[in-house]
Amino acid sequence: MKRYSAFAIAREALRHHTGWERAWTSPEPRQRYDVVIIGGGGHGLATAYYLGKNFGITNVAVLEKGWIGGGNTGRNTTIIRSNYLQDPSAAIYEKSRGLFETLSQDINFNLMFSPRGVMMLAQTQHEVRGYTRTAHANALQGVDTEFIGPQRVKELCPIMNIEGPRYPVLGALWQPRAGTGRHDALVWGFARACSDMGMDIIQNCEVTGIHSEDGEVSGVSTTRGDIACDKLGIVVAGHSGRLAEMAGFRLPIESVALQALVSEPIKPCMDVVVMANTVHGYMSQSDKGEMVIGGGADGFNNYTQRGSFHHIEETVRALCETFPVINRLKMLRQWGGIVDMTGDRSPILSKTPLGNCFINCGWGTGGWKATPGSGWGFAELMVRGYSPLTAAFGLERFREGRFIDESVAAGVAH
């Protein structure tokens, strides 16, 4: 793999950039792999990457139905944070956030991780208490957060109206080392790194069946032929239920559409990410200058990746009230992504009833930021059968009544 650098660009510029090679290769699938990962989104590719990097397992295929990163990885609002309340969540999201800090250098692909800081506004006494509690938990979990007062909020985000007549800002949970990253780049960078390790990234390859022998997985059927494997990882947000069905089990998941939108680009006016749960909106400004805005999810099962209007309406009116300057900005584009919601809104990283078949799903609205951490833990789970990062996220928790509920601290699960 040719390394990317300013020098490489200068060199290529002299020959009109005709010398760049493919970022990742596009091979025909082989008949057998040690590990097959179904799903070429961020989590699938991250899993493959850490299988190689941490465990030296490189005889790996990543099968993608369409184009890599075409699911939720390419549809989210790019926020990276780890200020979660519950121990298991804080652990995996903080692992992820930590990995993001050096990932660009590790995979030689600029992910534009921008630790500009994330604040979650407290606009009711209830939220003040919830976020104070989270700050206390985070301190013991090794997550760097603090509860800040309204004046500090205003300093960090001058365009905010902290004295809103309806919900004055009473403070915020502030995570200075959280921020944003470039979602597509993560996929491309992981694909390039995996490809470089000799893994096969196979696009336009849809899995149509899962084979087993004696209760253990033996391979998959695809639109590009049968592929045998020793271990199988299912990492297909939005389609987990169908794949689980092929593997012979059911999931506590429902798929719904989540809404997002961006404004037209403007010059920088907001250097932090702001999430306002009371009024249901969150916003940051991309490096291009667009205000990136997250909306709500439909209440019903939905597989159309389309925008709806009333969620956008609710979000935009909240943000117009919180950030008066956006009233005269314009919405450029809105879209929807399909997210898998579990019974407790926390993800599933688990063994399954089918031997050597593992599933990583149910990230709901919080998948993007967990990508490297999820890949790290899931790879370990697949190799060792146990990972401290994933241990609490097993399927059995729903039977035992042992939920990981993040909504309790007025926390939003984005």
Partner: protein, 109 residues
């Protein structure tokens, strides 16, 4: 933005008048249920890409619950019907069969 007809008051209205209430035709499991039965009752939800049966409430309207047969891939509505029934009416199942031959959902087809 869906549009649904409430079978209780006859109004055809937009989604914002309604609230979705999850999977239809669940059998409640009480204290006698096994761990697996109780788990399935609460969590093992149908999540098909296609024909689906669900509950809605006309919350900004007559306040009543009802059932909807809907396609989750196209959002086509096959019909709405009373909440006070244990299974989809024959008429709606036949209509679905015409449009989605070979469909099945839980024990219904």
């Amino acid at each position: 933005m869906l549009q649904l007809e409430c079978p209780n008051c006859g109004v055809t209205a937009e989604e914002t008048e309604f609230a979705q209430g999850g999977e239809a035709h669940l059998t409640r499991r009480g204290p006698e249920a096994s761990e697996q039965e109780f788990h399935d009752y609460l969590f093992a939800k149908e999540n098909p890409r296609g024909v689906h049966f669900e509950r809605w409430r006309h919350v900004n309207g007559c306040g009543k619950w009802f059932h909807v047969a809907r396609c989750t891939a196209t959002l086509e509505i096959f019909g709405t019907y009373s909440a006070q029934t244990l299974e989809p009416p024959r008429e709606i199942r036949d209509r679905i069969s015409k449009k989605r031959p070979g469909w099945s959902w839980r024990e219904f087809a």
